[in-house]
């Protein structure tokens, strides 16, 4: 099938989806408060933007998102490298990892609130934990998977210290694998953003909870679509960055 036909099919599918969604509440088959039709969304969106609530919530959530992502991914890459490079580090941490790894990120919410209060730091903490494990395991695996032959090249040219091995060979060779982990974390982190904010930290999640308690379901939808849009933008940006970083690949 040509690219054009596939695009056309995808567009047609979306159009049918929107049409059915529009029709159900309009025909009275569903309560309009419970399922607002898509045609109601632009007006709700404009109201939110004009009041300034949309921008403030989005900026707040983005700042949680990016900070949490940076902290979690930074720690994940750092500790993943240590664990991938040094068997001793891996052995010492093996059971700690096994103990902590299965704990869902959201199970940390009580502690996040005890330690940080209902503050941005609590949201950052929750997001960072979710991101950390994904990036940690991706990095550890990618570092360990580096072809020994490549490491031998570094040794053959006299680069024998662990640091030289890391900088000259391991890190560039592991970059594709690390980036796959980070990309997975990009999606995971949005989930954590909403979860953290639903508990009251100011941002998109909190705004959705407010709207829902007022039965302003059209506003809830505005933020759901906002998140889909933001995620799409961030992911597209990341893929562009990834393609540039990995431009050496066939």
């Amino acid at each position: 099938m040509t690219r054009l036909t596939r695009t056309a099919l995808a567009a047609a599918g979306l159009a049918v989806f929107l049409a059915v969604w529009e029709a159900l509440p309009r025909l009275g088959l569903l309560n309009e408060t419970l399922v607002p039709p898509p045609s109601a969304i632009p007006a709700a969106f404009l109201r939110e933007v004009r009041s300034g609530a949309w921008l403030a919530a989005v900026l707040s959530s983005l700042s949680h998102y990016l900070t949490g992502l940076a902290v979690g991914a930074g720690l994940g890459v750092g500790l993943g490298i240590l664990s991938g490079m040094f068997r001793l580090f891996e052995d010492v941490t093996a059971w700690i990892v096994r103990l902590l790894r299965p704990i869902p990120g959201l199970a940390w919410v009580p502690f996040a609130i005890i330690w940080f209060g209902v503050e941005p730091a609590a949201a950052v903490f929750i997001i960072a934990i979710g991101v950390f494990w994904i990036v940690f395991f991706a990095t550890q695996g990618a570092i360990r998977g580096v072809d020994r032959d490549m490491i031998e090249v570094a040794q053959a040219f006299g680069f024998r210290s662990a640091f030289a091995r890391l900088v000259k060979i391991l890190l560039p060779a592991a970059t594709p694998g690390i980036l796959v982990g980070v990309r997975t974390a990009l999606g995971q982190a949005w989930m954590a953003v909403v979860a953290a904010e639903i508990f009251g930290v100011y941002g998109v999640g909190q705004r959705m909870m407010q709207a829902s308690s007022l039965l302003a379901s059209d506003i809830v939808l505005v933020y759901m679509l906002t998140m889909a849009g933001l995620y799409g933008l961030i992911d597209a940006g990341f893929v562009a960055l990834q393609n540039w970083l990995l431009r050496w690949r066939a």
């Binding site: 032959d149 006299g158 680069f159 000259k168 060979i169 060779a173 690949r249 066939a250």
Partner: protein, 265 residues
């Protein structure tokens, strides 16, 4: 670039009483036993032997990538070669499979071995470009390794090794994975570069004709554990002709040595 060829001077590579035993899971395999070899300045020595006889292991020991169980390996860089940058290796290896680093451009691969303190970026670049010119790939400097043919990759690998101006250039079956046209082209290329730079070369191969065509001296590695079974000086001046019956006679002699050795086992 000039290099002094001093016969009778201290060898560039001096190997004495070298033995190597691998220990793996309680079982010991003796790979090399009591091996002596001297490679003199400017000399081109080929080591031939069957696959798995320990040729690559010997190179790994010379590179200090593996430790001998007994014996010594010394490498003497000529004192006047003005080497800059502490810690730089005295030997450089051309791997059988080129082993370029895929995330580096061709030029950055060539300058890889120069990334030591004391070698400025400009100097690295200048040397890298000179080496690429030497192997005839100047116009490919900005390419990625995956965009090169097998022969081009091996040229870059050669340039990378030459760039560090090693006291001895080690080559581990560097042309064996190439088709015969490319291989013969690269053999002649290597001889031209060696004539131009005067490099000392230690060349491992399982191809007897290749050894005889390239080397001043061919050493036969055979046995289990392996030792030097025979040594032939190919005293025919370069450039040589591949079809030269004198070379065929040397090759025949080497084949006899090898078959005699393997029937001993």
């Amino acid at each position: 670039m000039t290099a002094t060829v001093e016969r009778g001077a201290a060898p560039v590579v001096g190997i004495r009483g070298l033995s190597l035993t691998y220990e793996r899971g309680g079982s010991r395999t003796e790979v090399l036993r009591n091996l002596d070899l001297a490679v003199h300045p400017g000399e081109f020595v080929a080591i031939v032997g069957e696959s798995g006889v320990g040729k690559s292991t010997l190179l790994r020991v010379i590179m200090n990538l593996a430790s001998p169980s007994a014996g010594t390996v010394t490498i003497h860089a000529p004192p006047d070669d003005g080497r800059a940058g502490g810690g730089r290796p005295e030997s450089a290896l051309v791997f059988q499979d080129a082993r370029l680093l895929p995330w580096r451009s061709v030029l950055d691969n060539v300058t890889f071995g120069l990334e030591w303190r004391g070698v400025s970026r400009a100097e690295r670049r200048r040397r890298g470009e000179a080496m690429l010119a030497l192997v005839g790939l100047s116009e490919l400097a900005a390419r990625w390794p995956h965009q090169l043919s097998g022969g081009q990759r091996q040229r870059v690998s050669l340039a990378r090794a030459l760039a560090v101006e090693p006291a001895v250039l080690l080559m581990d079956e560097p042309f064996s994975a190439l088709d015969s046209f490319t291989r013969e082209g690269l053999q002649d290329e290597l001889l031209r570069i060696r004539a131009a730079t005067g490099r000392t070369v230690l060349f491992v191969t399982h191809d007897i004709d290749e050894a005889v065509y390239l080397a001043d001296r061919v050493v036969v590695l055979a046995g289990q554990p392996a030792g030097i079974a025979a040594e032939i000086r190919v005293d025919t001046a370069q450039p040589r002709r591949r079809a030269d019956p004198v070379l065929s006679a040397f090759a025949h002699q080497l084949r006899l040595e090898l078959s005699r050795r393997s029937s001993d086992l």
